[in-house]
């Protein structure tokens, strides 16, 4: 069973693949745009990789409220819970 810390680490690793920032320099509170320098194409790519890696059906509307690393993690956790419940 994946722990919340595992999920954090996985998502931070994904982020570090999209923008050239080392995982250890990425904090949960970082904003994707203002702190990590992701433009809109990058942030969609991040969600796309996340959907693929975790096998989740993330929609365009779900992407709308994602501003920070923590938002991204929360989105993944929410989808994973829904998937487990289904």
């Amino acid at each position: 069973m994946e722990t919340p810390a595992d999920l954090d680490a996985r998502i931070i690793k994904l982020i570090s693949q999209v923008v050239p920032v080392k995982p250890e320099q990425i904090k949960r509170g970082d904003r994707l745009r203002e702190d990590l320098g992701m433009d809109s194409v990058c942030s969609m790519e991040l969600l796309s990789m996340l959907a693929e890696e975790l096998d989740l059906d993330v929609g365009v509307e779900d992407a709308a409220g994602i501003r920070t690393v923590a938002d991204t993690i929360a989105l993944a956790a929410r989808f994973l819970r829904a998937k487990a419940a289904a």
């Binding site: 745009r33 203002e34 702190d35 992701m38 433009d39 194409v41 969609m44 796309s48 993330v58 992407a63």
Partner: protein, 537 residues
């Protein structure tokens, strides 16, 4: 798709001629739509997740009348300019053509990739509205704008006067954020471009297109919307975000709809190679023209894409490299379906041929002294023909600089060889990211605002990725002090905030390490060479 009727251009000494232009069925955008007033076939299928909505040709005409009425009620008259701030939707089509019916100039504004909250105008929009002298903006309800917002079509009388203004639309292109540069595209230029493209590819009403390019972009507007209108075929339209999030949807739609045509910049095909999944379950054998343009076309990407999906029936040669620019409405030269591969080897890399000019268009390559270059000799690409812009709106100086004795100076570098044009580089050293153009000077100026760096201590340029599979934006910053970690972070964050662009690589070097001229100016080309893959300083 029928065989192109026209012969491809004939090469002389570094010149290509697309041949005479045949008459246009319609010279006004409004007339092209009006002619399909009773055509109930679907024109555009808008796909939103699992839902889809069709807009027929006749429906689009009725919708355009509704928007024309609403604009008229808002005080818009023939000769005015109207901004269009809409996603890929019936509302974009309705308001764009509503403006055309009134004889008003349409001014498409960039729509954000990621939807979120209340719609708000994009960065730099106020300057665009000011430059274009827009009178109103067609936008979703609730959009905050410095002008009257027209949010819905309505009923009521309006005065139809489509020939009232020469300029059909203004296409904002490569200007900086503060001083946007809008190409004025005449009715005739727009229709010439749409027909030129359809004729070059031999498109007919039986073709089926799939596209996710935004309609506010020249490739989406002219390459998809106007070209399909000109010959009357159907296009399945996706939102850009959908494809960025689920690249496979693009492939699935081409497969299920038996698409014969699709259009994208190089990075779109790269996305399909990296994240489009396996060829299993796809049937891409109908695809005859997968146009690749609007940013450098890379042979590595084309080969990888065609190889990956060959098991799904994708033909070798389905990807057609094309060349165009907003200043020529869109297309300059197109590779024709089935045309022989005429790539050129240059400095150890393969430069794809981008075909021959569209009908009525001439291309030459010039030396810096203005003389015509010889075949195989590199120079600036010059264009003349029916689709050339009238000029940059409200920018007489920039307009004068853009032309030389009747020829449009593209600012791009190229070679004519083997009877085809090859684009080898950009004079203006523009950085192109996902189809958007940036001036290195803008990027450098922004970076210099947040970092303590010597004069000309920042260099921005793009370099080829490994295997020629894309380009990345590199920013090299000279540091006066050792503050490495924070600087890279600060620079990256500031660039996305100020210009909306992500730097792929940020390199920090000691003060004085960047190559400069004796007068202290940067040598960007040398920087790019030094910092390209494997060539790190």
């Amino acid at each position: 798709m029928s065989k192109p009727r026209h012969l491809t251009g004939v090469a002389t000494a570094a010149a290509l001629d697309g041949g005479p232009q045949r008459p246009l069925e319609w010279e006004l955008l409004a007339h092209a739509l009006e002619a399909r007033e009773r055509d109930d076939r679907p024109w555009l299928w808008f796909h939103l997740g699992a839902r889809r909505e069709a807009l027929s040709y006749s429906g689009a005409y009725a919708l355009a009348r509704g928007w024309a009425a609403a604009l008229f009620q808002a005080g818009v008259r023939a000769g005015d300019a109207v901004a269009i701030f809409q996603p890929n939707s019936p509302a974009f089509v309705g308001s764009f053509f509503g403006a055309q019916l009134l004889g008003a100039t349409a001014v498409p504004l960039p729509w954000p990739v990621v939807p979120g909250g209340a719609p708000s105008l994009p960065m730099g929009a106020e300057a665009m509205l000011r430059v274009a002298r827009a009178r109103a903006v067609c936008a979703p309800p609730g959009t905050a704008a410095p002008l009257p917002v027209v949010a819905e079509p309505s009923r009521g009388p309006f005065v139809q006067n489509p020939q009232a203004r020469r300029t059909a639309f203004i296409q904002f292109t490569s200007g900086s954020t503060g001083a946007p540069r809008g190409a004025e595209i005449s009715q005739r230029a727009a229709m010439s471009s749409a027909f030129g493209m359809a004729r070059a590819l031999g498109l007919t009403a039986d073709d089926v297109g799939v596209s996710w390019l935004p309609f506010f972009h020249d490739m989406g507007l002219v390459g998809v919307l106007l070209s399909s209108l000109s010959v009357g075929f159907a296009v399945h339209v996706l939102r850009p975000a959908e494809v960025l999030l689920h690249p496979r949807r693009w492939l699935e739609l081409m497969s299920s709809e038996r698409a014969s045509l699709t259009v994208a910049p190089n990075f779109g095909y790269e996305l399909l190679v990296r994240r489009g999944g396996a060829p299993d379950g796809l049937m891409l054998g109908w695809l005859r023209a997968a146009l690749s343009g609007s940013e450098p076309v890379l042979r590595g990407t084309i080969d990888a894409f065609e190889r990956r999906f060959e098991p799904a029936g994708l033909r070798r040669g389905a990807v057609l490299p094309v060349y165009g620019l907003a200043e020529n409405t869109l297309g300059v030269s197109f590779t024709r379906p089935g045309e022989l591969d005429a790539d050129l080897q240059l400095d150890g890399r393969w430069v794809p041929a981008v075909g021959t000019p569209l009908e009525g268009t001439q291309v030459t390559v010039r030396r810096p002294d203005g003389a015509r270059a010889l075949e195989h000799e590199e120079g600036e690409i010059m264009v003349k023909g029916p689709s050339v812009m009238d000029g940059y709106v409200e920018e007489p100086e920039a307009t004068a600089k853009a032309f030389d004795r009747g020829w449009l100076k593209t600012g791009d570098r190229g070679v004519i060889a083997k009877g085809q044009l090859h684009v080898t580089g950009r004079d203006k050293e523009l950085v192109i990211k996902a189809g958007r153009k940036f001036h290195p000077a803008d990027i450098e100026r922004e970076v210099a605002q947040v970092v303590d760096t010597p004069p000309n201590g920042v260099a921005a340029f793009s370099v080829l990725r490994e295997e020629q599979r894309g380009e990345e934006l590199v920013v090299v910053v000279e540091l006066k002090r050792d503050e490495a970690f924070d600087v890279a972070r600060k620079v990256r964050a500031h660039l996305v905030d100020a210009l909306g662009v992500t730097a792929d690589r940020i390199e920090l070097v000691k003060a004085g390490a960047l190559p400069r001229t004796t007068s202290g100016k940067l040598r960007r080309a040398e920087c790019a060479e030094r910092f390209s893959v494997g060539g790190r300083a």
